[in-house]
Symmetry: C2
Subunit: 386 residues, 2 copies
């Protein structure tokens, strides 16, 4: 368990290029290049809710350094705060930039409990079937989660970690992700992603997401993930320290994106040379697959998993459900194998619904990296009216 991979929340990400500048007991950030043009003194992160279409959500002001909604949020101690304060000045949002801030970074909705961000599906985020790829969805989920942490005022100096975590050299690592896609968006579609967190047992955290079509409000994707805390130096798992729990608890929301009876919480079988129907060897990380911590970005794993799925399935079916169990980090020097097999316990119309089990493993010693389970539905026929 001590080798579970961080979900691109990189332990050392911000430690070197953001700097703590102490001025009159306030803190600011330095640009990652020595130009100093972006330096500011005493940034405060001010987040106010914005009116949303078809929404009955309550409004809220969340101001760093003031007790709001029962949460005392200090002025940033670590310079990782930079992002939350990018579009605000010392005394508040720059005039006219509030909508831009909301669009680029998102905003709190439903008091402090839910964080939302609106995205347009860009031209380069679609795949061969002309819709957003699963990688695109996972990237957008990650982006919303990180902006949630940043704008909560809790961010420490590691990707997604809180300040009390960073003080203790603790980082989040994801152990499991489950995504259910009802419909993939097309190029130019606008989607709205909501995310929130809750406790997961005694020493875990659950993060859920809902993706809606911006115009129809239809829920098109649901996702849930489980996180534990790891010491980034010893790489050992840790209990959640009381101080960290105190930071997190006010944000916990007892709500689930995926109803329990529809969730995929079963263990994923381990594929072997004997049980795998297809093995794709020789997958080598490219330089650009690496994240800031010299690990393979976890979203890249999806691409490798797909490499052992039959191409006719990739062409004619939609990936409607995916569960990933992260087991081990992968670095650039590692050569990887992708294994896929039909899930034997699957039921239903197997011509329209396919069920697969997958394994990514190190090629030389067969150490597991990720186990996965996917479901695929045959694509709906295209819609012609002319």
């Amino acid at each position: 368990m001590a080798s579970i991979a961080p979900l691109s929340f990189n332990p050392t990400f911000l430690t070197t290029h953001f700097s703590k500048l102490q001025n009159n007991n306030c803190y600011s950030y330095a640009s990652c290049y020595p130009r100093g043009l972006n330096n500011r003194r005493c940034n405060f992160c001010i987040v106010m809710v914005r009116g949303r279409r078809s929404s009955s959500r309550r409004s809220v002001d969340l101001v760093n350094g003031k007790k709001v909604n029962g949460v005392h949020v200090e002025a940033p101690v670590f310079s990782g705060e930079k992002r939350g304060s990018l579009l605000v000045e010392e005394s508040g949002a720059i005039e006219g930039e509030k909508p831009l801030h909301d669009c680029l970074l998102g905003r709190f909705v439903e008091d402090k409990f839910v964080y939302g961000q609106t995205f347009i599906i860009r031209s380069y985020e679609i795949g061969p079937d002309k819709t957003a790829t699963m990688e695109t969805l996972m990237n957008l989920l990650q982006e919303t989660a990180l902006n949630h942490v940043t704008c909560s005022g809790l961010a420490g100096n590691d990707f997604g970690a809180t300040r009390e975590m960073s003080l203790r050299k603790l980082i989040w690592v994801v152990t499991r992700v489950h995504v259910q896609v009802q419909r993939y968006s097309c190029w130019g579609d606008v989607v709205e992603i909501d995310t929130w967190v809750d406790a997961a047992g005694k020493n875990g955290m659950r993060r859920d997401w809902i993706i809606r079509d911006y115009h129809t409000r239809e829920v098109i994707t649901r996702a849930t993930s489980t996180w534990v805390i790891m010491n980034k130096e010893t790489r050992r798992l840790s209990k959640i320290p009381d101080q960290v729990r105190e930071e997190l608890t006010p944000f916990y929301l007892n709500r689930i994106a995926i109803p329990t009876d529809q969730n995929d919480s079963e263990k994923i079988d381990k594929l072997t040379d004997k049980t795998a129907e297809r093995i794709r060897s020789g997958l080598a990380p490219r330089w650009n697959d690496m994240d800031a911590n010299q690990h393979v970005n976890n979203v890249k794993y999806i691409g490798w998993i797909l490499e052992s799925v039959p191409i006719t399935v990739l062409e004619d079916f939609d990936l409607t459900s995916m569960t990933l169990e992260y087991r081990r980090e992968c670095r650039q020097s590692n050569l990887v194998e992708s294994l896929t097999s039909t899930t034997t316990t699957a039921t239903g119309d197997l011509s329209k619904n396919l069920h697969y089990t997958h394994l990514l493993r190190m090629q030389p010693n067969k150490d597991e990296i990720v186990r996965a389970r996917t479901q695929w539905n045959s694509k709906p026929k295209q819609y012609f009216t002319n």
Copy 2:
């Protein structure tokens, strides 16, 4: 020349999943799935300039179907118009959504001549050195260019093509791109991209871009590209038909992003087995490298080029200049080789500035895909203040 690769502006991209719905001489779009929830009648694309910080640009209204600024822009004939009308209703912008439209799709500035869009560098758009990658920049340039065409009201039913082009089955193909990066942005930095087009000789078009740091207004990247027209069925190059020229000319702006004496317009030498210092073979396109036309997305070429660059260079140097000469399309079944060599004619301090020539070619028959030239500057030292 007839085999030059489209810059991800895919010939058949919109032909199947957007449909022309004729209602009272107006046209709309259909969702890419047969749900019909997004269907609208009579969409008009209304684009108005928005106040910008530190900008003395003139304001302009551009309304489809009306003659504005000397340009008569018809109501969309092809349903590829969908994107421009996503956030506007029949009678104008949905109340409160104008800033969202501007943020997600961009807006015209300086009358109709320049199109601008603001982006935040997202968590998954940075590389191992914690700054935006060259791929990220190229993706954002492509996105801005496509939104420019969409919001101009000229878009046909292929990626970036005009209506008169689509009527003649013509598409744009990029022959050359040159990018100069003064500084790479960090995670959370906000950048503003401006783009415009001009004639390039008798039968070409030039598209330029400027990327500025949103807060400092510093120009951090300049780019220029050359485009020609190809018949998507015969794959032969075509002259620009008069009707297409009439569409384009009102948008031409006689301005260059890169001064002529700083541009890289020299031919790139062809590397061979004999002249290449490093050859990386066995590069296989992944399923997700494919675009909607089953070609390798041209931005992916950059990743392959980097595969034959020494890792110490990738780690310790910034890619400050890149020129790509596109020669041939690449499909999923193709196995690719990446060749790199030090440019022998380079001058200057070679410990701080590196110059390389590259070639991507088909592995079996050595057919050229892309020639490239890159320059690298040693990274500035990190900035510590605590």
